[in-house]
């Protein structure tokens, strides 16, 4: 096992660095030993560091980098499940699964997340309206607890602990392996419809209608467009392509995604400014076809477009950037409209804004997805009066009965959390039961007083 080393850690947004002792266990036994040796400032699991804020940081304490616990343990073709160690990335898992005719039940917008991290934030994907978030497809996991024991947890045997861990931000213990239900596929391709929507009404209607038709759907939204163009966007929706719909004569299950570009380090700030983003948005909207049906696209193009560019987070310059993701109930599209208006008037340039309709929630008290509209956007950390803008968005979201996503948060006021997550006390009760001394903690837990 590599020696523990102090390291400054940040999330993907590259803001608020703090120092932790990073340990990289190569076995479950080593992870158990490391947790036992953690000092008063506790321990925390970290995967590939794709949470945007401080979720995978533990200032002054121990951080267990689990990326060396990355083995596939068992593929059960009969039941359609895979059991793997928690540090395995979706990228590696997809390379293993696709040639064998399987796909993951849920994937977020990047495949560079670990299975453990995906469960800890209960990730959702473009199929949430149909399939829910990832925890609904996890049949069991092995959890390393504060007392040093490793216990299998299923939703049947200990539903409280299972659901507190799903979306529990790594604070109930360390998931060392898990079993995931899979989706059978006959190709590594998608058939994709693209629809341009000239305003928000058309966009919401298009998403609602598209959700009946397609397993996967999402919209890119232009946050800078105002007036009659407010909320214009491009909807993409798709389904897995059958083998006979795949172009060319190669193996339909061949899957070879490769990052093509890397953003150089030390770019200056200010490259993504209102002007450049406005120009990008205009071009992006214009280049999308008004309506195109059943276009074959590679899985990686459809699900993980940004993974084509390594270290894209550097493009925001040295100050880093923030992601903000909100959800408001389906009938509160007025709040969504108000949020878009606030964003537009602030002029804060959002390069990648995404809108989607969520389906039913799962029982996780800290799980983010719930029925409604979810809007995700990112802004440079130096953009104008960002703190004030985001505080106003928080109030709007809370008053509409919505929430923000903790995997992306890095600046929420702790007093708003119980209103966004009304079952917070249920989470705290479980944590008190399995970790009474608070051995597992994080900067996010300290900041939000979880």
């Amino acid at each position: 096992m590599p020696d523990p080393a102090p390291a400054l850690l940040t999330g993907w947004g590259r803001t608020a660095p703090t120092l932790a002792t990073v340990v990289r266990p190569t076995s479950v036994a080593a992870a158990v030993a490391a947790v036992a040796s953690a000092g008063g400032r506790g321990s925390l699991a970290r995967g590939l560091g794709r949470s945007y804020g401080d979720a995978a940081q533990n200032a002054g304490g121990q951080v267990l980098d689990l990326t060396l616990l990355d083995r596939v343990l068992e593929l059960d073709d009969a039941n359609g499940t895979v059991t793997a160690e928690a540090g395995l990335s979706l990228d590696a898992l997809l390379r293993y699964l696709l040639p064998r005719g399987w796909f993951v039940p849920v994937t977020p917008g990047t495949r560079y997340v670990t299975l453990g991290g995906a469960l800890a934030v209960d990730v959702h994907g473009k199929n949430h309206h149909r399939d829910g978030s990832i925890a609904s497809h996890v049949t069991s996991f092995d959890l390393l607890l504060a007392d040093g024991s490793v216990r299998p947890v299923t939703p049947q045997d200990d539903p409280d602990l299972f659901w507190a861990t799903a979306g529990g931000m790594g604070l109930t213990g360390i998931v060392v392996s898990l079993t995931l239900r899979l989706v059978p596929v006959t190709s590594a391709w998608m058939l994709v419809d693209t629809v341009r929507a000239p305003d928000l009404d058309a966009l919401l209607a298009g998403l609602t209608e598209g959700d009946q038709l397609s397993r996967y759907s999402v919209a890119w939204i232009d946050c800078l467009a105002g007036g009659r163009h407010q909320g214009r966007g491009v909807i993409t929706r798709g389904d897995h392509a059958p083998a006979d719909a795949v172009p060319g004569s190669g193996d339909p299950l061949a899957y070879r995604p490769h990052p093509r570009l890397t953003v150089p380090p030390h770019l200056p700030g200010g490259l993504l400014n209102p002007l450049s983003v406005r120009a990008f948005n205009e071009a992006w909207y214009r280049k999308a076809p008004r309506h195109r049906v059943a276009e074959p696209q590679r899985l990686s193009t459809f699900f993980h477009p940004l993974d084509g560019v390594q270290q894209w987070n550097r493009a925001y310059g040295p100050r880093g950037f923030l992601q903000y993701q909100l959800v408001v109930p389906t009938d509160r599209d007025d709040a969504l409209r108000a949020a878009l208006e606030l964003l537009r008037r602030s002029g804060a340039p959002s390069f990648l804004a995404v809108l989607k309709r969520f389906g039913p929630a799962d029982p996780g008290p800290l799980s983010f997805p719930r029925p409604g509209w979810t809007l995700a956007l990112d802004v440079t950390a130096s953009a104008g009066d960002l703190a004030d803008l985001l505080d106003r968005l928080d109030r709007l979201v809370v008053d509409a009965g919505g929430a923000v996503y903790l995997a992306k948060d890095s600046r929420l006021r702790p007093e708003l959390l119980p209103r966004m997550y009304p079952d917070l006390d249920a989470f705290r009760t479980v944590r008190q039961r399995v970790d009474p001394t608070g051995r597992f903690t994080s900067d996010l837990a300290r900041r939000l007083d979880l």
Binding site: D54, A381, L390, D443
Partner: protein, 252 residues
């Protein structure tokens, strides 16, 4: 924790009853700070300051008294303060401003000034920095002075102690690089407060509120030095290189 936009949630003030310190505390409480530690010379002053900060929105105020010159007692004090929890920002705001002529006559007075303004910063600055290093995050803020940049005929007892404290904090900032903790040195010009009341006002005089704004901004932007007002930086960089016979003749 200090969030992604640089707003802290807790603030420990050593020298917590000074007007500048209170202005900084009020400014940060208006934003995200909810937990405040106030350490001052006398308990009455500390309680009065605590009342003000609770009214401004602080939900938890820890009150303690100390003597900045009693370095022997500082270890226990700092242990007690950090035993209560992490501090995102530690503000060293204590200091005395003697009458220059009196300090030249009464050497004991000059020594006392050095003990508070310099030795106090050595003791409390290094001790709190150890704790910030251990907690892996935090900002140590030193209220320095433009007098630290180039001591003058009219204030060299005060200025020399400030120069020492400023040099210590600047070096400490370099030492803390990569530790998650950092140092912000604040160099205000003439600030209109009780401490300076009745003194002839220097050019570019400023207010406690302006200093507070500069501190909040410096923490948020991760700066290591801020001048208040900002133009003071350029004025002092000119004055710093002025030949000594000319500098001596300037009426500052």
């Amino acid at each position: 924790m200090i969030d992604a936009l640089g707003a802290p949630q807790s603030l420990l003030v050593l020298g917590g009853t000074s007007e500048i310190a209170l202005a900084v505390a009020e400014r940060l409480v208006r934003d995200r700070v909810r937990r405040v530690g106030l350490v001052g010379r006398d308990s009455v002053g500390v309680s009065q300051a605590a009342v003000r900060l609770r009214a401004a929105g602080a939900t938890e105020v820890l009150e303690r008294t100390f003597d900045a010159a009693a370095a022997g007692e500082h270890e226990k004090l700092v242990e007690d303060l950090f035993g209560a929890g992490d501090w995102d920002v530690v503000l060293l705001a204590f200091g005395v401003l003697p009458d220059q002529a009196a300090a030249e006559d009464d050497v004991d007075l000059a020594v006392a000034v050095a003990e508070v303004n310099y030795v106090g910063v050595v003791s409390l600055g290094l001790r709190t920095a150890q704790r910030l290093r251990a907690q892996g995050h935090g900002v140590l803020v030193l209220l320095s002075s433009v007098a630290a940049e180039r001591p003058r005929r009219s204030n060299f007892v005060y200025g020399s102690a400030k120069a020492g404290a400023d040099a210590l904090a600047t070096g400490l900032g370099d030492a803390l690089r990569g530790s998650g903790a950092r140092v912000l040195v604040v160099r205000p010009g003439f600030v209109r407060t009780r401490m300076t009341h009745g003194l002839p006002e220097a050019p570019l005089a400023t207010t406690p509120e302006a200093v507070a704004e500069a501190v909040a901004d410096g923490i948020a932007k991760g700066r290591s030095t801020v001048w208040v007002p900002g133009t003071m930086r350029w004025v002092m960089s000119g004055l710093r290189h002025l030949p000594r016979p000319m500098f001596r003749r300037l009426d500052l």
